[in-house]
Amino acid sequence: MLKVKVLFIEDDPDQIFLYQTKFKLEGYNFISSRDGKAGLNLAEKEKPNLILLDVLLGDENGIDILKNLKTNEKTKNIPVIVFSNFAKKETIEQALTLGAVDYIIKSKVVPSEIVKKVAETLSKKYVK
């Protein structure tokens, strides 16, 4: 069976390591990118099943990356969960309006919970 591919766009390597470890332990194919532009390329190329997107990506803004993903023909159907510790209300609203499936605050969940969330989202999609 083909492993579910999850793309994590995040600039903090420690964070990547944490979630990568968990997702791999749960049997996912976990790829990551440390900046937005590379992430977009990766998304186009690898066509992951789901994208976990951080907001504060150094100079780049995750929301802009989200816009990009959703207007690009090749990537607009990939479900995106915004996964960040940045909790500004306007940013959350913006992300959801732009088509993110969900906006989850990292510190509010533990790695196993995010894994579950990813599974749920994907199953919903298939059922639809």
Binding site: L18, T21, G58, N85, V110
Partner: protein, 736 residues
């Protein structure tokens, strides 16, 4: 039947007496009027005696009348002189009473002597007229009488030249009338009587008519002795009487020619409708006559009742002070045909009393204020709340109780004359003088009559009320305006505060957004790692991975502590009134040395050389905040350690003229050129920073900058090249 001459004489005498009586009864208390009547009486006596001396009566009676003629002539002269003197009373013609008494005695003497043979004697009759010869004292007599007349002419002429307007006209006519009459009378009766016939000599009598007519004209047109209205009324009565008289005789005449007599039946019957017609016509005719006399005699006389009503009505609708003043000034000016009018407003509630010209027409503005300059007028008007006429001022100054007052009255009169004001009306409200209406002369030159003054008094009381109200209203309006301005100011103030508050809140909110993110980042790693440990995932990892995991979590917890600290410090610094005390005396070299030694362990762990060097000899004393500067230097060295992977960190201190400069130079990753400008801002990290040290708060340099800003004459700056290293400098003024 009496012949024509008698009728003429009768008419002359009647009209003279009429004139005299009217003048007297109009104002019995006025000396001028009394003297006028006196003079008229003597003129009448003279006329009668002059007439009868030539009539067909007994010789003795005729002689008596001649003597009476002479006697009364003297007194005519005397009383005329007295009248003239009194008319111009106050115009520097104060004649000593002694002179008046002497004059009286001369007149009395001459009058008595007329009954002797010293003045006239040898009285005879020829051609129906009486004759006489001049006695020893005839010349004396003649000179005395002529003197009386000449002196009075002189006075008249003098005053004619001096006066203006109304007075001038009055004087002119009196002068004309009397001079012509008296010259005729004098010449004919004194000098020529012996050579003329009766009828010719009676021309002297008839000459009086000239005087009567002139005086009458002066009365009507120029309000001489103010008897014009009475005179006018009498004229209209006379006209109506004439109408009745004519009608009666017309009807009687008609009746006589048609019916033979008015006592026939036909006449009675005709009389009925005629009587009805007459009664119907009479009243309109009366009104017509009154209207005509009013129009022709009193053209320009105002209806005071109407004026007052109009003004009152208008005043009740106006509340604006300026409009009220305008209305008052204009009404008075136009009703009385004045050339100048003005209103002064007085504020007695402040000290010194404040005067203000509300409106003037025709007056020079400064003149208005000069009138009230010495407060005398104000006090006077406050005490006697009635109009002050300039002409009265002489009288008032005479009556003054002390020298000061007397002088003040004279000054005031001079003042009023100078600025051409003739009347001051007080405006009284609440028993206080709130203003003065100042009026000039009438354009016609006329004097202010009693009616005028009465009207003006009423006008001014109305005006006082209206002005007081308007003033209150204005005060209220001004107060409202001030209130509104204050409210607007406050509103603006509050709005400004609200805007500032909003900005602060926004800043706060932004700060919290980022600060919360900074805190959550290490927290999520710690939490995540621990949860995985709980779930037993650690056992599924290799031992190397395990170690890495646990180490990472530990580092994050350390980081959390430092971030919390940074955030708290930055939060404190973020407010506009961040103010630290820079009062400690610090020996900088020792300070830095201490920090350097504290970081030696970390440096050695990373294999980086950390040194401290004094480039110039000390001392390096400055004034600053020990607590915060410790943090600053700590931050700089920590940063250098964080972002230097290999090489060295050199800390130096040197004295540069008046300043001390500390430098921390590393061989680290440097700062990208694009980030140099903003590197001291909140939450900003160099783009390359994360690669080397992931968890910087972005607040370190921000804190350093804020602290340095709080130290007077100090600064911080950086020189850097990406990939090569950075040099951070701190500069302080040396403490002497």
């Amino acid at each position: 039947m009496l012949d024509l001459s008698i009728w003429i004489i009768l008419i002359i005498i009647t009209s003279s007496l009429f004139l005299g009586l009217v003048a007297f009864f109009k104002n019995p208390k006025n000396k001028t009027n009394r003297l006028f009547l006196l003079m008229i009486i003597f003129v009448v006596i003279w006329q009668l005696s002059n007439f009868f001396e030539n009539e067909d009566i007994s010789h003795n009676l005729a002689k008596l009348f001649l003597r009476i003629d002479f006697a009364s002539a003297v007194f005519v002269g005397y009383s005329w002189l007295m009248f003239v003197l009194n008319f111009f009373q106050g115009n520097r013609l104060i004649v000593k009473p002694v002179i008046k008494i002497i004059t009286f005695f001369i007149s009395l003497l001459l009058a008595l002597l007329s009954f002797t043979n010293l003045i006239i004697f040898n009285i005879s009759f020829s051609n129906g007229s009486i004759r006489f010869d001049n006695g020893y004292l005839w010349l004396f007599y003649a000179l005395a009488v002529i003197a009386f007349f000449v002196i009075s002419y002189a006075i008249l002429i003098l005053n004619l030249l001096k006066s203006r307007g109304l007075m001038r006209m009055q004087i002119l006519y009196i002068f004309l009338g009397f001079s012509i009459s008296s010259i005729i009378a004098l010449v004919i009766n004194l000098f020529l009587s012996n050579s003329l016939t009766v009828d010719q000599s009676r021309i002297g009598l008839y000459g009086i008519i000239v005087f009567i007519i002139c005086t009458f004209y002066a009365v009507i047109k120029y309000r001489l002795m103010d008897i014009r209205i009475v005179a006018g009324k009498i004229i209209s009565y006379l006209l109506i009487a004439a109408f009745a008289y004519v009608t009666f005789y017309a009807v009687t005449g008609l009746n006589n020619s048609f019916f033979g007599s008015i006592f026939t039946t036909n006449a009675y019957l005709l009389g009925i409708p005629l009587a009805l017609c007459f009664s119907i016509i009479f009243t309109p005719f009366q009104r017509l006559v009154q209207k005509l006399t009013k129009h022709y005699l009193f053209a320009g006389v105002y209806n005071s009742q109407e004026t007052l009503e109009n003004l009152t009505n208008q005043l009740t609708t106006i509340i604006n002070l300026n409009q009220v003043i305008d209305l008052v000034v204009d009404t008075i000016k136009n009703t009385l045909y004045l050339d100048k009018s003005g209103v002064l407003l007085i504020d007695q509630s402040v000290q010194p009393v404040k005067y203000q010209i509300a409106k003037v027409i025709g007056f020079n503005r400064q003149n208005g204020i000069s009138l009230v300059q010495n407060n005398f007028l104000t006090q006077y008007l406050t005490k006697n709340q009635k109009p002050l006429v300039k002409e009265e001022l002489d009288f008032l100054s005479e009556q003054a109780k002390n020298e000061n007052d007397r002088q003040s009255f004279v000054t005031l009169k001079n003042h009023m004359t100078k600025i051409e004001a003739s009347l001051c009306l007080p405006l009284i409200s609440n028993n206080q003088l709130i203003g003065i209406i100042v009026l000039g002369d009438k354009i016609s030159g006329g004097a202010y009559s009693q009616e005028d003054l009465k009207l003006l008094s009423l006008l001014s009381s109305q005006a006082s009320i209206a002005i007081t109200n308007a003033r209150y209203y204005k005060e209220t309006q001004d107060f409202n305006k001030t209130l509104q301005t204050k409210v607007d100011e406050q509103t603006k103030d509050i709005q400004e505060k609200a805007v500032r508050l909003e900005k602060l809140l926004k800043m706060r909110s932004e700060f919290l957004d980022i600060a919360s993110h900074q805190l959550r980042t290490p927290t999520s790693v710690i939490k995540g790692t621990l949860s995985m440990m709980k779930e037993g995932d650690l056992d599924k990892m290799s031992s190397k991975e395990k170690t890495y995991f646990v180490e990472g979590m530990f580092q994050k917890s350390v980081k959390l502590e430092s971030i919390i600290n940074d955030i708290l410090v930055a939060s404190e610094m973020d407010t506009a009134d961040f103010d630290i005390k820079v009062e400690d005396e610090i020996e900088l070299d020792k300070f830095v040395e201490k920090e350097v030694s504290e970081h030696q362990f970390d440096a050695q762990e990373k294999n980086i050389t950390l040194t401290f060097e004094k480039l110039t000899p000390g001392p390096f004393k400055i004034k600053g905040s020990a607590k915060y500067l410790e943090q600053v230097i700590d931050n700089l060295i920590s940063n250098a350690l964080k972002y230097t992977l290999k090489g060295s960190i050199k800390t130096t201190i040197k004295q540069d003229g008046k300043d001390i400069t500390i430098a921390v130079s590393d061989t680290g990753i440097g700062i990208p050129k694009d980030d140099m400008e903003r590197i001291f801002n909140k939450f900003i990290r160099g783009k390359n920073a994360r690669d080397v040290y992931t968890d910087g708060s972005g607040l370190g340099l921000f804190i350093i900058k804020r602290v340095m800003d709080q130290h007077p004459n100090s600064k911080v700056w950086v020189e850097s090249e990406e990939g090569k290293g950075s040099n951070f400098y701190l500069q302080f003024p040396l403490l002497k």
